[in-house]
Amino acid sequence: MLILHCPHCGVDAEETELAPGGEAHLKRFGPGSSDAEFESYLFHRENPRGVHFERWRHAFGCGKWFIAARATDTLEVFGTYRAQTAAPPQDIRDAITAKRPGWAWRDLA
């Protein structure tokens, strides 16, 4: 039963107040993109056994979307930040590196 901090309203919300939204920081491909790009955008997922960046909506709370950096093997949460963020912020990445030297997610570390 996860607890995640909603960066919008400041509540430490338990999982039942939240709605999961899948992998974060996906680049949308629309008309004009190749079949491969579009397939990858829609279906290919990191699904790592380790650090993951994922979208959550504070559905029963303020209704806002945020992103959580979470380990899928220990469920440790390294931080959360607003969904209006193009890439994982440096401070979050540093927090992860401090705990898990040498971690990698896509091309990030």
Binding site: M1, L2, F29, G32, D35, R57, L75, K99
Partner: protein, 1003 residues
Amino acid sequence: MSTRLQTGGRLIDRNARRGFTFNGRRLEGVAGDTLASALLANDQMLVGRSFKYHRPRGFVAAGAEEPNGLVNLGTGGRFEPNQRATTTELFDGLACASQNHWPSLDFDIGAVNGPLARFLPAGFYYKTFIQPRPFWKHVYEPFIRQSAGLGQVPAERDADRYEHFYAFVDVLVIGGGIAGLQAALAAGRAGARVLLIEQTAHWGGRAPVDGVTIDGHPAEAWIARALKALEGMENVTLRTRCMGAGVYDHGYALGYERVADHSPGDTRPRHRLWKIRAARIITATGAIERPLSFAGNDIPGVMLASAVRDYVANWAVSPGDRTVVVTNNDDAYRTALMLREAGLVVPAIIDARPTASGPLVRAAREAGIRVETGRGIARVKGAKRVTGVALCAQAGEGAVLEEIPCDAVAMSGGWSPVVHLWSHCGGKLTWDAGQAHFRPDPERAPTSHDGAPFVIAAGSANGYLLAGEALADGDAAGKSAVRSLGMAAKGGAVPKAEAEAEGPMTPVWMMPQGAGAELRMKMWLDYQNDVKVSDVQLAAREGYESVEHTKRYTTLGMATDQGKLSNINGLAVLSQSLGADIPQVGTTTFRPPYTPISFGAIAGEARGDTFQPLRRTPMHRWHEENGADWEPVGQWRRPYCYPRDGESREDAVGREVKNTRQNLGLLDASTLGKILVKGPDAGRFLDMLYTNMMSNLKPGKCRYGLMCNENGFLMDDGVVARIDEETFLCHTTSGGAEHIHAHMEDWLQCEWWDWRVYTANLTEQFAQIAVVGPHARDLLEKLGGMDVGAGALPFMAWSEGEIAGVRARVYRISFSGELSYEIAVPASQGLALWEKLVSAGEEFGLMPYGTEALHVMRAEKGFIMIGDETDGTVIPQDLGLHWAISKKKDDYIGKRAQQRAHMVDPERWQLVGLETLGGGVLPEGAYALAPDQNANGQRNTQGRVTSTYYSPTLERGIALGLVRRGPERMGEIIEFATLDGTTMSAKIVDPVFYDKDGEKQNV
């Protein structure tokens, strides 16, 4: 025999008698008894039958670890099978019955003892019952099912209520023994918010029974003081009868409070499930004594030494007159001494250790009790009750040296910490060779959301079996918990607990050491599931080497006690058979709950009326009072139709359709989603959201729109009304509102967050009423308030004003093909307006209609219905809705997906109308046949029915369907398969069956 002693019994009140029945027999106990102690006080040692061999079973333990003493408890709406007698508090009028036997407990024909059992070793059913094939289903399985199963099936609905409670604490302490109390004190003094829960009705755990003294006084005195101190702390909550059931991720824990099990029928909820969020959890859950594995260790009268002690000290019950004690440690000597003190006979203490010294041993010898070291029990004599034991050399193969008559055996194989709650969330264990048990490894504790350890084991649950160490460890646990939370631990000298010192124990996994096969087949590990030493050895021999394999192959530890007594003993036997060390072999996974918890408690308040939310429109009560036949639509409930006296559903629907087409119908459309979208970029946003163009919609006008998901599939449809330059109102399907609103916010917040658009879900702000039929305008004009004429309010326009004195927005839209107005008014006015329409409509023959009439009418017009024509695999292009897919836009959600190979395949099934030749109605979901079969031998198909109705208007069956290249095949006749093996012929026609030119809706 087992009986009530004249004196003693710290938990009972002899003067408060409690009557109860067992298998119909009237018996008497006293207040403070458990059902187990009361039964024993009445010499009821035989209480059940084992699972597989139906062997006679008596109590082995006095607490939650009891594997045998399970009963059918209560009657009627308060009946409950498999209730553990050792954890059931006795109350006046309690009725219970023993389980798993036929015809009676004393004579059970299911019992297969001695010779036969030999043919049913572990896993025998995997090797047998294979031939002949039909026999498994029809002969073998029914027999196995009948003989298995333990408790009876409840016959009535549960008469009790249940609830949940959310608690947030800094420190949750699980277990109210001296370690738990001290941990709570330490944490409480530091100012932490503390919740201390204890599964029994009493505080203090074993200490008072084991004659522990604390700071020089009897443990009880200190416990009383500790409680007083804790009760005095604002920040501490105490709870008895509340078991720590499970520990989950991020500090979530379940407390299972049995509020009223001991007082059934009072006003309280029966169980309360505590959902606890704790920053730190201290598991002071104690330890459980292990049985010894000797032949006949399952015969009623053989008990754990500590249990014998509990029964004597707590309830003044002696399990037997002559009790032989058998042990591999000093602790069991306490039992001998206590029995002697109670004036009972202890013929001998059989100690498997070559030598035994230490104060307790000395005390026993001084008390004149015969102590036999280096000895073991070759076999226990007796069937339904112990009659004696045969002595042998522990080092030997079981040659009988002497037989000692006795009626009870108190055994102790050492102690195992209760590590379940530590382990639930990933806490790891370490093997303590000295005490031959697994205890929590503090280096590998479960970690929480912040990556920090959040569970701390304390006391004997942490491997500190001696009172002194346990109390000190509890203190340390409390302090380290608060320190890890950044609070200062207040000093306060740690109380000094003392008990006689104990000499070292010696692991004994089999008695005697060299026991032959025949004896090993009589050494029980799992009493309830009938798993013996020989079974585990067989599993190992056959290559089921993983501890999980062995467990599953033999069912060791899978009974309702979840192996609290058997796991370590079984594991030891397995590792010996494999010639491996115990830690190498490892344990099985500990799963919640610690002991079984009621389904009622898990469901909590979610039953009956509050099982799920039921959504009601403002007119709900009117529908109810006017005979609505309900249909669940999502969580809404909508009238399917309004049958009149003696009318069938079908007739009612027919009447409602006809009347709406000929006169006037009224529909409660309040469930339609209504989402306000406003902002400078609102038009641009809706152009992305809908397949068609919305930005060029004129204020005052309405437009039907389609919404797809990014995967290209149709997800919702509805009418969009442009309120002003910056504002749109989007109607969604019933029950689609929340989903679509979330969909909009998702894209606005996560993809286009720089677009200036706000949304608001106004679905429930408005009651929406569709006034439909040739007389629709007449009715509104009669009520008056605004101009609804064709000029002022043409088709697909909306306007604002008043209807019958109610502030209203009126949309001139139609889902039926008739002249139709949808009137939106504030919900608080909905019922009033509805009633005004009904009474004013009388002269026009107004009748309300339900969802089915709505479906029929839209099908007659060939309008698609999300969920019928669409099923998550259909794209708008399949439905001939090209007119609603903008060619001008270079992007919208789903556009790219609709360009993929399979989506542009001309072979796709597409929407057509279907007319049966005979005028009959096609079956729902029927498929159109195509020639031949596919490579997997399945009949090929070329289409399917998506909607099919009897049309009261056309007086014939009509249907919509998806057919391969359908629109190119107008007039063609295809065959649909019915379930009775016949086929129905249908002609492919235009999907619009009624008023093709739309004259009726445009008037």
